[in-house]
């Protein structure tokens, strides 16, 4: 019989083996975030024209490492922890095959280290995308392949746990919404890793001269099947966490299980088509293919995100109104726990992901509008709003919940933790906005010197408008603020799991990194199966809108979206006619 403990504060179930794996994956993710954050500062200070800190070759090397550590290693390690939590803890089920799960973890760890070594040896400054025929060292690809294999094992451990839970009747009825969302993320992850295998294995063989040539266009199309889809894992995972936090912090019930789950299904069906966003300015791919795929087949995945954008805050509003915060449209929001970083982080993430990340992503993913945006600084501006303000900020908020519940430590520096989400989100918002501003003026991404000093010496001159340079300075300032906010997160979380006051008997320092708590915390009696709450007998929505405040906010988003969308068509219509 497997051993488990029930968290006395939250009633959450932790399988003894699964708990260690959640910790190990979360901690490995946080270490990758630390690396990514240090590198982010170097990148930010280099693109700030007044400072221009690194030399060209260091800059390209550091930028490659920043992308992979932030976008792949940090996020996917953390997502594996979320998958284990959403299956084992939420379903009160032992984690399937913990030894395989550890093998997966070790492969991911070796892979992440190997790829970092390849980059810092200096021979693999190929950017995250490593576009063929630009070649990286063999162990650059091999590291990524090992990491992907490890992540795939994690996905199957998650799926296996769902099977065991069903088999052993550890829950009644359907799986919870959050587990459903995690399942969506897992299905997308399997697709992502399959695409990655199809392109990275040949690339590895090519780098050791077993394959003569990799077609550059084929590489792009398939690589983005992994590169973009991996960001869709994030979207599904982060939305699941939003629902989880709404439930944890407010006791919020999803407005309608049917709507939210259907939206997740739309993700599974359509979200991955968006890898076409990266191919819109490419030769050899037809407009029909581009239009169908870039729009996720008629924007059905965008529809899903718009739905979550309403139902997550909407469920919070309903819960708050039930508590009596019913004055006006926004009392529920004004009196929300703004000092609780679990809530504030998630709420800031919902808002910035929608307004900054979501809208701009759809606009630049429009086939023709992409002509004025492709590969400009607008692109990283957009994805810092989706991946950092969306995913990273959400995961940071979740960590504040996990410290007492999973690690059984009290959080240190709670006063600073209150401010951390605002500082991080503020810096990142500045960075993202001005990156997009500079991109609109044509400033390229992944570029060491937009002053073109070396070209000017040779007699080729070009100057971007002065406002572009000013915006790059503001990007630099934003990056410094965000790095301070991110640093604060690392100090608080790592400090808490090492030095925080122990809430339960500990098994020593390693307990913070992957060992279970002291044996006395666990029992092996069979737990009660998880049950849903009794059906709500209240009339649902018949007397009008349940969440009018959220509806108004959603309308603000929609109007902003429409206006900004057509502004970009207007801008497109002013460039040279072409066809």
């Amino acid at each position: 019989m497997s051993q488990y403990r029930i968290c006395p504060d939250t009633g959450l179930y932790f399988d003894r083996a699964g708990e260690g794996l959640m910790k190990a994956n979360a901690v490995a993710g946080v270490v990758a975030l630390l690396v990514a954050g240090v590198l982010a500062l170097l990148v930010g200070l280099t693109r700030w024209p007044a400072i221009h800190y690194l030399g060209a070759s260091d800059f390209y090397m550091v930028l490659t490492a920043h992308g992979l550590n932030a976008l792949i290693f940090w996020i996917i390690f953390f997502e594996i922890a979320i998958l284990y939590f959403a299956s084992s803890s939420l379903l009160r089920c032992r984690l399937a095959t913990p030894r395989w799960a550890w093998l997966g973890f070790i492969l991911m760890l070796i892979g992440a280290i190997m790829t970092n070594v390849a980059i810092f040896q200096g021979s693999s400054s190929v950017m995250m995308t490593s576009y063929a025929p630009m070649e990286a060292a063999p162990h650059f690809y091999l590291g990524l392949i090992l990491f992907a294999v490890g992540a795939l094992i994690g996905c199957f451990v998650f799926l296996g746990t769902l099977v065991i839970a069903k088999e052993e009747h550890t829950y009644e009825g359907s799986i919870p919404l959050v587990t459903f969302g995690a399942l969506t993320a897992c299905i997308i992850a399997v697709f992502t890793i399959a695409s990655g295998a199809i392109i990275l294995i040949p690339s590895f063989l090519w780098s050791i001269d077993l394959i003569g040539q990799i077609d550059a266009l084929m590489y792009r199309v398939i690589w983005w099947g992994m590169g973009h889809s991996s960001q869709q894992i994030n979207v599904a995972a982060q939305v699941s966490v939003w629902y989880a936090v709404a439930a944890i912090a407010f006791g919020a019930k999803p407005m309608s299980e049917k709507v939210s789950r259907t939206a997740f299904l739309l993700y599974i069906l359509f979200l991955q088509l968006a890898s076409a966003h990266h191919i819109l300015a490419d030769p050899g791919v037809s407009s029909t293919w581009k239009v169908f795929n870039t729009s996720y087949a008629m924007y059905l995945a965008v529809l899903a995100s718009l739905i979550h954008g309403l139902t997550v805050p909407g469920s919070i509003e309903v819960a708050q109104r039930k508590k009596g915060l019913t004055n006006g449209l926004f009392e529920w929001l004004r009196k929300a726990p703004w000092g609780n970083p679990v809530f504030s982080g998630v709420f800031l993430s919902v808002v910035t992901f929608g307004f900054l990340g979501g809208i701009t992503g759809v606009v630049m993913g429009t086939e023709q509008i992409n002509l004025i945006i492709h590969n400009t600084f607008y692109v990283p501006g957009h994805f810092h709003a989706t991946v950092v303000l969306g995913t990273t900020l959400t995961f940071m908020a979740l960590t504040y919940f996990l410290i007492p519940v999973l690690f059984r430590r009290e959080m240190i520096l709670p006063g600073l933790a209150k401010w951390q989400p605002y500082l991080f989100a503020g810096g990142m918002t500045i960075l993202s906005l001005f990156m997009m501003g500079a991109g609109t003026l044509g400033v390229p991404r992944r570029h060491w010197d937009i002053g073109f000093a070396q070209a000017t010496e040779m007699g080729l001159k070009f100057e971007f408008p002065g406002s572009a340079e000013m915006m790059l300075g503001l990007v630099g300032i934003g990056s410094v603020i965000a790095v301070i906010g991110g640093g604060l997160y690392l100090v608080i979380t790592v400090g808490s799991i090492v030095f925080g006051k122990k809430i339960e008997e500990s098994a020593g320092l390693m307990q913070s990194f992957g060992l279970p708590l002291a044996a006395s915390c666990y029992t092996s009696e069979k737990p009660e199966p998880v049950k849903g709450p009794a059906a709500d007998l209240e009339e649902h929505g018949s007397a009008g809108f349940e969440a009018p405040g959220t509806f108004v906010l959603a309308m603000v988003l929609l109007v902003t979206f429409v206006v900004y969308y057509f502004i970009n068509w207007k801008y497109l219509s002013s460039v040279w006619p072409m066809g």
Partner: protein, 182 residues
């Protein structure tokens, strides 16, 4: 805490849907369909579209085409470092060629304002990004593929091609020129 608990209804698709959700889904879906329609509409009525014309090529073949054009239509040269780069003024309506390579665009072109040209683009080595500034038109240049777009400059002056696809250590020095005369 019910998003982390099983739903209270055994069968989740039988749960009721609130009014604001229905209204919102209807609005959002309408907007999605409008956005979807905009792309085909712009193909018919808009003036800025990507052509679907592209060919497989090889660096040798492509370089030969560029060379032929340069030999026929060079009007002057411009010195860049120790090189003299030809400035080519092909006749309006003709096929014109630019190649990207580590780390330059070759040759320079001179267009007449208001005339159309069939602009061919390819790379001799790695991928490059054709970013025409300050107009801000951005295209991906992929080796072994030859893109053709018909372009009609409607402003005159000096325009710069910035490389905006990372292409190695001197990526940031890779500039080219297109001149447009009245």
């Amino acid at each position: 805490m019910s998003a982390i608990l099983p739903p209270s209804e055994q069968v989740w698709w039988k749960t009721p849907v609130g009014k604001e959700e229905i209204v919102w889904i209807a609005l959002a879906l309408t907007w999605c369909l409008i956005m979807f329609a905009m792309m085909p509409i712009w193909h018919v009525y808009g003036k800025q579209n990507l052509s679907n014309e592209a060919y497989k090529t090889t660096p040798v073949q492509y370089e030969a085409k560029v060379k032929a054009m340069v030999e026929q239509h060079t009007i002057r040269t411009q010195s860049v470092g120790e090189m003299d780069v030809p400035v080519v003024a092909p006749p309006a309506g003709s096929d014109v060629y630019i190649l990207g390579r580590l780390w330059s665009w070759y040759p320079m072109l001179e267009f007449k304002k208001g005339e159309s040209y069939r602009l061919h683009l390819s790379s001799l080595d790695w991928q490059h990004g054709f970013s025409l500034q300050p107009i801000n038109i951005n295209l991906q240049i992929v080796p072994e593929y030859e893109t053709v777009i018909t372009i009609t400059p409607d402003t005159s002056g000096e325009f710069t091609i910035v490389c905006n696809e990372y292409c190695g250590i001197l990526h940031h020095t890779m500039l080219g020129k297109i001149y447009v005369t009245e």
